[in-house]
Structure formats: C-alpha cells, structure tokens
Amino acid sequence: MLALLSRDLRLAVRAGGGFGLSLAFFLILTVLVPFGVGPDPARLQAIAPGILWVGALLASLLSLDRMFQLDWEDGTLDALATAPVPMEGVVAMKAAAHWLTTGLPLTLAAPVLGVLLNLSGPGRGWLALSLLVGTPALSLIGAFGAGLTVGLKRGGLILSLLVLPLYVPTLIFGAEAARRGAEGLAAGPVLLLAGAITLACLAALPYAAAAAIRVNLR
C-alpha cells in the first residue's frame, strides 16, 4: 500500500509526471486576476479568498485525468486488481498521492499568492487553513470521477463536467471560511463544515471509486 504511494510520488516528480503543473497554473491564474479586474487594492482584497479558492480548485482538476488513466493504459490497473491489495486502498493511496503533489503545494503557495491579491495577514492564515482542510476532499472527489471515467477515450472533459459540480459544497464552505477569517469574523464553524465534507468524502468515496473501477475493468 505504501509502496503504491511512494511509487506515485516518484512518478509525479520524474519527467512528464506533471508535478508543478498545477502550481504553475495556480500562479498564472492569480497573476492574471489583477489584470482582469483592475489594480484597486480594496476590490482585490474583497475577492481574494474566492479567487484563490476557485484557482486551487481548477488547478487540482488539471492532473485528475491521469490518476487512473495511465495505469489503465499500461495494464498496471489490471495487475493491481489481481494483487493482494484492496481496490479501495489503491484508490485511497492514489487520492493521497494526488493531494500530496497537488493540494498540499497549493495550500503552501496560496498565502504567498494572497499577497498578490492584497489579502490581509490573518486572511492568509485562514486561507491556508481552509485549503488544508478542504483540498483533501477535492482529491477524493476527483478520484471518484477519475474512477468513473477510466477507460474512456478523452475522458478528461467528461471528468471535469462530473467533478466540478461535486466540488461546490467544498468551495462554498472553504471560501466562506477564508473570507470570514480575512474580515475578522468567526470562521471556525464554517471551517468545521468544510472538514465534515472532507471526512464524509474520505469515508464514502474510496468505496464508490473502487466499485466504479471494477466495473470499468470488465
């Protein structure tokens, strides 16, 4: 099981693994926003939590379609399905590897990029905290979507359409927690709701994704 995690992390940082792609996308998006909405610091400060959350969400979407597709293409998924590891565990490890290579770097980068959008000091802290709590749900929901679409030609597009609506609750509570934190309001309860979504995803989605993959392997 841990072998799978370490292999996925190794593959991600090798050539063509896509590590850093999400981060670069996030950076460019954040840099582009002031060009689009104008340099007014007050306006940027108001929209910063929402923009950074939407950016993190789209960035984590970028590498989702590779999660199972590459393993399906080269037969690794067949071999893993017959190996003495449960498919649910494979899904959980894949989601963990995706989060470690996407969600965690985004969480660490977001406070720095918050400076570009004039986000206040406490706001940057709350933003990082809300991303830390919310991004695992993005990886888990993404694993479910990737499991549903594995084996489809050009499955990446349908994957986005499937997954983005499912991201809405995490986005609402994550961005709201960051916004409240930035404005000095009580952000704790909202953050707890975001955490509840993450935990629910962790409890249910590995089973759903594993079932979808077994069907797709037939």
Binding site: L2, A3, R7, E73, G75, A79, T82
Partner: protein, 220 residues
C-alpha cells in the same frame, strides 16, 4: 501464501460462460489444470481467449459457472506489461515485489531469470518491445503465486527469449506450478494439454465487418 500453495488442487473450471461487452461469447467450459500441468488455449482471433483469461483472473465476473481457486491465488499477465516508463527496470520490479508482500530480495532473482540483469538501472522507456515484455513477465515471479494466467506471453520476444521463457515456464511447472496460456506459437512444453475454444462459442459467427467492429468497441 507459500504454505497454502502446496495443498493447492490447481485450477478448476465448471460450467463456465464468459461474457464480453454484455454478450456471452463462450459457454459450457469445463476443465482442470492440476499442479505441474499447463493448458494452452487456442482458437481464432476474437474467439474469447483474452476474455476467458480475464474471467479466470477475476477481472470480470463469469456469466455462469464457477472458477476455483479464488482470484487471489492466480497471477495474470495480459497484453499490457504493467511497466512504468519513467521508472527503472529494478524500480518497476521492486514496486511489484512490495505490492505482493515481498521484501525486495527476490527482484535480483527475477531479473536474472529473464536475462534483465544488465538492464536493471535502465529507465523502462528505453527498453525494446521484447525487453519490456520480459520485464512484464518477470512480475509473475514476484507474485509468489503458483497458477499463472498468460495472455500471449511470447509477443515481441525473439527466439532466444522465447526459449528462455519456455525454460522458465518449464521450471515453474516442474516445481508444482500450473499455467493456462493463450499462445499461437509452440513453446515446446511436454505434456501440455491443448484446448480449442472454437466449439465453445456461444454465438453464431457474425459478419466479419460489423462483428469485429462491434466486439472491439465493446471490449475497449
């Protein structure tokens, strides 16, 4: 797993029907492959050899009938080699050894058994098709399982490598292992039974154009 393997009765199939894309394509299969025995599945392209092997491996459920033992006693090697291009040969095998609960010490043996020792540090993407195939077959040795399901194991292998693999398979059988394989070439396995799947077809042969396209679509 090693202790259980000795009492293993081998592969037993009863009344098996195999489906592909929702259509039953083979039915009425009954056969046994005991320890030390090999069964070579033959038949024209599209008859269902791969689907049968995938059903035996537990990757798809049987449309009817039973397969024993459970899929966790079987090692399946399909058309794809389950090789990661950016990992080295040794890293690829070390991963499969760990997945199957090994410590990693058997990787060297597996490399040597398939003549890959000199290539251990090479990235898998620089291998030739035949070398890649041998790397895929080396995974079988790391599973620690006695029942091998092999789908066209000799594709892209040169004559020397085919002989190497035939000898390996012979040692596996002599050691009490068993194998069911789909193969179009003669591996020179003494005493291997052959099973032609054509009589077990569940469907009338379809017109070539529509039939081939439809089946491939369903399978992909």
């Amino acid at each position: 797993m090693g202790t259980a393997a000795h009492s293993e009765p081998g592969l037993a199939v009863a009344g098996l029907a195999v489906a592909r894309g929702g259509l039953t394509i083979l039915r009425g299969l009954d056969f046994r492959v005991g320890p030390g025995e090999a069964l070579i599945l033959t038949g024209p392209n599209g008859v269902g050899k791969t689907s049968l092997l995938r059903t035996l491996a537990g990757l798809q459920p049987p449309a009817a009938g039973t397969v024993s033992p459970a899929p966790d006693r079987l090692a399946y090697a399909g058309h794809a080699d389950a090789v990661k291009a950016t990992l080295t040969v040794a890293e690829n095998l070390a991963f499969w050894a760990r997945v199957h609960g090994g410590a990693g010490g058997e990787v060297g043996d597996a490399l040597a058994a398939l003549g890959l020792g000199d290539l251990a540090a090479r990235p898998a993407q620089s291998l030739s098709a035949g070398q890649r195939r041998r790397l895929g077959l080396a995974r079988l040795l790391l599973t620690g399982r006695r029942l091998w399901l092999l789908d066209e194991p000799t594709v892209s292998l040169d004559a020397a490598s085919v002989a190497l693999f035939a000898a390996l398979l012979g040692r596996h059988l002599a050691g009490g292992g068993a194998a069911a394989l789909a193969s179009h070439i003669d591996l020179g396995l003494t005493g291997a039974a052959r099973l032609d799947l054509s009589p077990f077809r569940a469907l009338a042969p379809l017109p070539a154009v529509a039939g081939a396209g439809g089946f491939d679509e369903a399978f992909l």
